[in-house]
Symmetry: C2
Subunit: 340 residues, 2 copies
């Protein structure tokens, strides 16, 4: 009777139960399950059958403890409710799942501190990190990258492997588009000061306007939310610009709403170009001209880069930089410059 009690019925089956049922040692079960080549085919099949019969699922805890790998990757995003990140998240999720990894999603709430904190707290529980639009300083990032494998998205490639979405080149396309519509007073509406993308976009904007001998206007920084759109719109209007290139779609959509409230017609009185082509950009009013890119793919690529550095054997010369192309999607929020 005592023996029967030893293994209480509600218990989860362990590798030992499987080994017993299959008549082999636990080490063999372990190998059969995670290192198929190492075990005879018939033995393996017997083990697999036993495992299936017991409905055995290995404990990731125990596995992680002894192997040192958790098969988990943490994905840090500044704002989980910003649609821009949905596609990234979906991309990473897909790719990680396909590789047998678990995704740990963390919302860092646009805070560098929370980001650094999460990086510390989770260094034991994740094999690697993907930082989307990190708000860390270069120094912080370098420190983090030295401690653990990590891939960034939209960040300078010098510090860590990165996937950048080539919005600067799209800025040029956008400017060209606006200039061709007759605009000469074009305003850049800036996003978060700590955002690397924002800096790059602003830089591209400055260079290109200088090139074209246009006066350079800018307002900002603004938090990348629709609710900041009102302030952004008012500031932009005040510059006297007839067109805006906006840090991202969220902000642009907020501006659209405010301009409508104020009776400023888009695009008749003011043209607006957003960035990212997020969910909503196609059905807002008017539909937003914006810079689109394969964001989901950016997430996928980031995962590939991370995994290939995590598992060097699977090779794939681990690149340090991937650039995602971008193109301008023209909708109804841009039009000819108003007559002066």
């Amino acid at each position: 009777m005592a023996e029967l009690q030893l293994r209480s019925p509600g218990r989860q089956p362990t590798i030992r139960d499987v080994a017993e049922l299959a008549g082999v040692a636990t080490s063999t079960v372990s190998r059969a399950l995670s290192n198929p080549g190492r075990v005879n085919r018939v033995t393996r099949e017997r083990i697999e059958e036993a495992a299936a019969q017991l409905n055995y699922i290995p404990s990731s805890q125990a596995r992680g403890l002894s192997s040192g790998r958790t098969q988990t990757v943490a994905v840090l995003v500044p704002d989980i409710t910003n649609p821009f990140y949905f596609d990234i998240i979906r991309g990473t999720q897909h790719q990680l799942k396909a590789a047998g990894y678990t995704q740990l999603l963390v919302d860092t709430e646009e805070s560098a501190e929370m980001e650094a904190d999460a990086l510390q707290k989770m260094r034991r529980s994740a094999d690697g990190f993907i930082l989307a639009a990190s708000r860390l300083t270069d120094a912080q990032l370098a420190e983090a990258a030295a401690q653990q494998p990590l891939v960034t998205i939209n960040r300078a490639p010098a510090i860590a492997p990165t996937v950048v979405i080539d919005t600067p080149s799209a800025i040029i396309q956008a400017l060209e588009h606006l200039v061709s519509l007759g605009h000469t007073r074009i305003c850049f509406v800036g996003g978060p000061a700590t955002s690397w993308s924002n800096a790059k976009r602003w830089q591209a904007f400055q260079e290109e306007t200088a090139e074209r001998k246009l006066t350079t206007f800018s307002v900002g920084p603004f938090p990348p939310k629709t609710t900041s759109g009102a302030a952004a719109a008012d500031a932009a209007v005040h510059t006297g610009a007839t067109a805006c290139i906006v840090f991202n779609d969220l902000l642009a959509i907020g501006m659209l709403q405010r301009l409508r409230e104020r009776g400023i017609r888009v695009p008749e009185d003011m043209s607006i170009v957003g960035c990212d082509d997020i969910f909503g950009a196609d059905f807002c009013n008017p539909p937003l001209t914006t810079m689109a890119s394969p964001i989901e793919q950016a997430g996928r690529v980031a995962v590939s880069m991370l995994l290939s550095s995590l598992n060097p054997q699977y090779g794939g010369t681990s690149r340090r930089l991937a650039v995602m192309p971008t193109h301008l999607t023209v909708r109804a929020s841009t039009g000819a410059a108003p007559e002066r």
Copy 2:
């Protein structure tokens, strides 16, 4: 020299290092950190200081292995890119984090199979589950609930503890609103057949239209995506209805786009009421009349319910049902019925 080599410098500090530095046994460190009352205050402070000095982070793996608890809750949603779930996710994330839990987010891609699968695969690695808009059958759900602690969102309360968003009552408000605008031919545009919410909404719709002696129209089921909106719009128009109550906002927004394409004016020719008040409902064209509710709070409440069943000591009589209120938010997509 050998001793120095034993602890390689790049290693993560363990509880043993802390114990050594503080001059106590590992068990004492463990207790000091996770069971404060069990250890003298000065000892505890010494330990905490040592831990801080070493930058010690306990391994969640090891902790989970020996304690049997993972401090992790898995949140399963049918579609991670559906904005409806953002707020749920954010709510659960907040509440879980506050309680020291980690959230594991899983996208089940609207598939009952993937859902059941995730539930199985993760039963070892999560202490509990939150199923948002589960697509499981009652039987599957009951089985899952028997195996592990779980809370559902928008699901029949009989099977497992649940948080329901009271959209059926909002359906009544919506009908009242439409009737007051003179509509008599009102069509219900259905969502996924396996969705419990959809069934409840449809039921409420039927009962209420019967009550008011209105003809009951319906079309569907449609997948809850904007891309299904075109088919839904065409079908709804074909019924001859002058107003639609749509399963959710995603679908409703898709319909809005299609109606616009076809030159059917909203609300002059057709009124549309959505459901959930998701991101985008306020800035689509025209802004959508919809049924709003505190969705983020629903996520929070679900977590509370789950945690109180996980940690009975923290008490809080664990309710089996929480109902979130809903109200109609009238925007521009509803208007007076057209003259016949």
